[in-house]
Subunit: 462 residues, 2 copies
């Protein structure tokens, strides 16, 4: 029994350690909350303050507990929502209370009841609007709360003003302590987190594509057994599939955040959602590809598979490298076009090689082709790889658009790029999904010297 | 200007109407919140109650505003979390206060400060544990809040007991009003919502598959132009792709809910997540399929496409029908096997037809086959359709497992099924993703009379 308890305790301790190691910002956040709460407790102990505010000091404590969130954006969003909701509802509550007073001792409860019902019901309904839910949900909650409290408790106006002043001040103090601590001490920016998580997602897709060729065509060129732990890249892309809800909320919080690091106040956070959705699109293709990496597919390769091995490997690895280049460009906040375009072009020319091989190569494998069934899995892999190049192209356009909107630096002069690969794409986008199905006309202009001018970057003409 | 304002108002009015029409439960919920809040306001007006509780009555108002959520499960979860958090923190707060008192006038603030810091920081950290975050996040928040309030405000123990009694009673009354109204008046059950949303998702996948054949092979057999609006089924499946976060939270709330409708208290809600994940898997395949429905694919069909038209159409429509049967079985809570297995078997035999055609049929189209590139898109569609049958089979097994766990009715005697299609599947599942890649051994036993016995249903042996 004692040993079991000890084991259980050890297990919990290990879990705590892992949770902290995975993201040390969690430990720092917990300490920050503790410090903020201890600071506002001083309201009760520092005599001059207590004399001024009395019992209202408790609102500072409540405010800190309720609004201090993990990211700066979430804290700001909750703080501003709380402040705004409280003030609006306070003013409305006093007004309604005044009206109710006019209707006499007997009528007052009815008038108040009707107003509470109407305002609570309509404010609750407003929380179903997606736009309000995303940004002002907490503010509406606080609005209902404060309105009910003020109108119901029936303060006289002068009483109310004293109390409102005390409460608002303590709420402001509590909110200010949260916001200052959350910004000054090791801040966790929602925007930066979104930026990094999109980069890490693109890297995961890239790792898969860079490794896929070796895995799929494994039996034909490498006979060395790779240790199991190195295969994690084959599973990592799966987190991208379900990344939407996290990205949506991060982008919402990021919009409340002030300038930080390399991100300005009006950084195009919404555009990250577009990049995220293209990354998911790419992940769906990879999911289809991964389905063909099951053990029974990895038999002795047919002539057909050997025929398409070289172009397919090139498509996969160059697409992966293009994604890596996009991720690096986002990380360093530089113009992504030169490096990613190079790999994208290599992937595209491998697609052409593959197509030519397939068009003309039947003669080489005429003995094999009588059985169409045998070539279907390999043909599917080839087809998905071609689709992946399209989706990497979409992603690359979206990143290029971001680089324009967010004014990324042009490539640094330390690494002169002699060739500027400009692309002009007449690309009418009606709908994200339709757009991907439309054939793209791509004109590649090579041989023009890089003039560090952003004007001729690829842009989606909307 | 006046007209613009009028237009704006009209627009908002239309939005409100649409929001209400899309889900009338939203309007009812708003009214329920209004009624609950008006009821607790009575605490201030009904003299005997006010005399008993005094200012603590405000806690009933706060409780209603904060815990009344859209679904019964969410309301119960918040209510229980609030109650539990308050009580635990209250007890701990009094204990700490007592300890702090022992350390004298000067030491008290320090002891209290240290305790507030330690408990707030560790409780905040505990919110990062996924298990606590999912079920007890709000409870921990309330715990920190109450603990800080109680320990900081420094009540004497007897004072505290009176106040705790008043507050807990009003919180209980507020919570009880919320829970009763949310359960009695048109309840919105998280469990039922999860159940229905999974059914509707499966139906969306089914609609796509039933319609796909007609769309893809359109030019060869139908020349009637279908009106645009009828094509919505080609987009609807996309909501399934991002369904994970909603399903996760619904399943969490459902676990708090009492028996309702056909769902017992221990209904296997967690198993719905498994079904949901298989449905997403199927949606990923459909996404890959949909990529091949772009306009340039729909040219004059090649000989090769004509050759595989019949089996492919059968695979697609029978898979769709199998999914429809699964959805219907879930809706009526009956054993899904007889009806879905029938269609699944038809789809599987069409897969065999397709494979045989591909194995032997090269001679028929020998003039066409020299250009392998031309057949790749069609070959890919065939391959994805074969993958889809596998994924429908996984989904069907998961639903059969649910039917066993949740004790679904065997098929009703009004519609006697003479043939019982039992399947025995030796299917060792190590990992959801790996399992799908393993070849399944399927033994279909036909011709045994239906004995209304659930024992021989397909089960995943874990």
């Amino acid at each position: 029994m004692g040993i079991q308890l000890k084991n259980k305790a050890m297990e919990v301790a290990l879990k705590i350690k892992k949770l902290g190691q995975d993201d040390p910002r969690r430990i720092i956040h917990s300490i920050k909350v503790g410090v903020a709460l201890t600071l506002v407790s001083l309201f009760y102990y520092w005599k001059p303050l207590y004399d001024g505010f009395g019992a209202s000091g408790i609102w500072a404590v409540i405010t800190v507990v309720v609004i201090f969130e993990f990211t700066v954006g979430a804290t700001l969003s909750k703080g501003l929502n709380r402040g705004l909701g409280t003030m609006l509802a306070g003013a409305l509550g006093v007004g309604v209370d005044y009206l109710a007073n006019l209707s006499g001792q007997k009528g007052e409860p009815f008038v108040l009841g009707i107003f509470v019902f109407l305002i609570a019901a309509s404010a609750t309904f407003s929380r179903f609007f997606p736009g309000i839910k995303a940004r002002y949900d907490y503010g509406v909650l606080i609005f209902i709360l404060t309105f009910s409290m003020v109108s119901v408790s029936g303060y006289r106006v002068d009483e109310f003003l004293t109390m409102a002043h005390q409460r608002l001040t303590t709420i402001l103090v509590g909110g200010a302590i949260c916001i200052i601590i959350s910004i000054v001490v090791c801040p966790v920016w929602a925007g930066e987190t979104l930026h990094n998580s999109i980069i890490s997602n693109i890297n995961k897709l890239a790792n898969y594509l860079e490794g896929f060729g070796g895995e799929y065509f494994h039996s034909s060129d490498e006979h060395v057994t790779v240790p199991e732990k190195d295969k994690s890249f084959l599973q990592e892309y799966k987190v991208v599939l379900n990344s939407k809800s996290t990205e949506d909320s991060m982008a919402n919080f990021a919009r409340w955040e002030p300038r930080h690091g390399n991100f300005g106040f009006r950084h195009p956070w919404k555009h990250y959602l577009k990049i995220g959705s293209f990354a998911r699109q790419c992940a769906y293709h990879i999911e289809a590809l991964n389905f063909h990496l099951s053990p029974h597919q990895l038999q002795e390769p047919s002539q057909f598979r050997r025929m398409m091995e070289v172009p397919c490997k090139t498509i996969s690895s160059e697409s992966g490298k293009a994604l890596k280049a996009l991720a690096t460009a986002m990380k360093t906040m530089t113009d992504p076009s030169p490096s990613s375009q190079l790999h994208l072009n290599a992937a595209k020319s491998a697609v052409n090689d593959l197509k030519n091989t397939l068009k003309s190569g039947t003669a080489q494998i005429s003995d094999d082709i009588s059985n169409l069934l045998a070539i279907i899995p390999d043909a599917t892999v080839a087809s998905i790889l071609i689709d992946i190049v399209k989706s990497v192209e979409d992603l690359s356009e979206a990143v290029a658009e971001l680089s324009l909107k967010a004014k990324f630096k042009s490539v640094s002069p330390e690494k002169p790029q002699l060739l500027h690969k400009g692309t002009i794409k007449p690309f009418v986008e009606e709908d994200d999904n339709e757009a991907q199905q439309q054939p793209h006309v791509v004109i590649t202009v090579s041989g023009i010297e890089n003039n560090n001018n952003n004007e001729d970057l690829p842009v989606n003409k909307k």
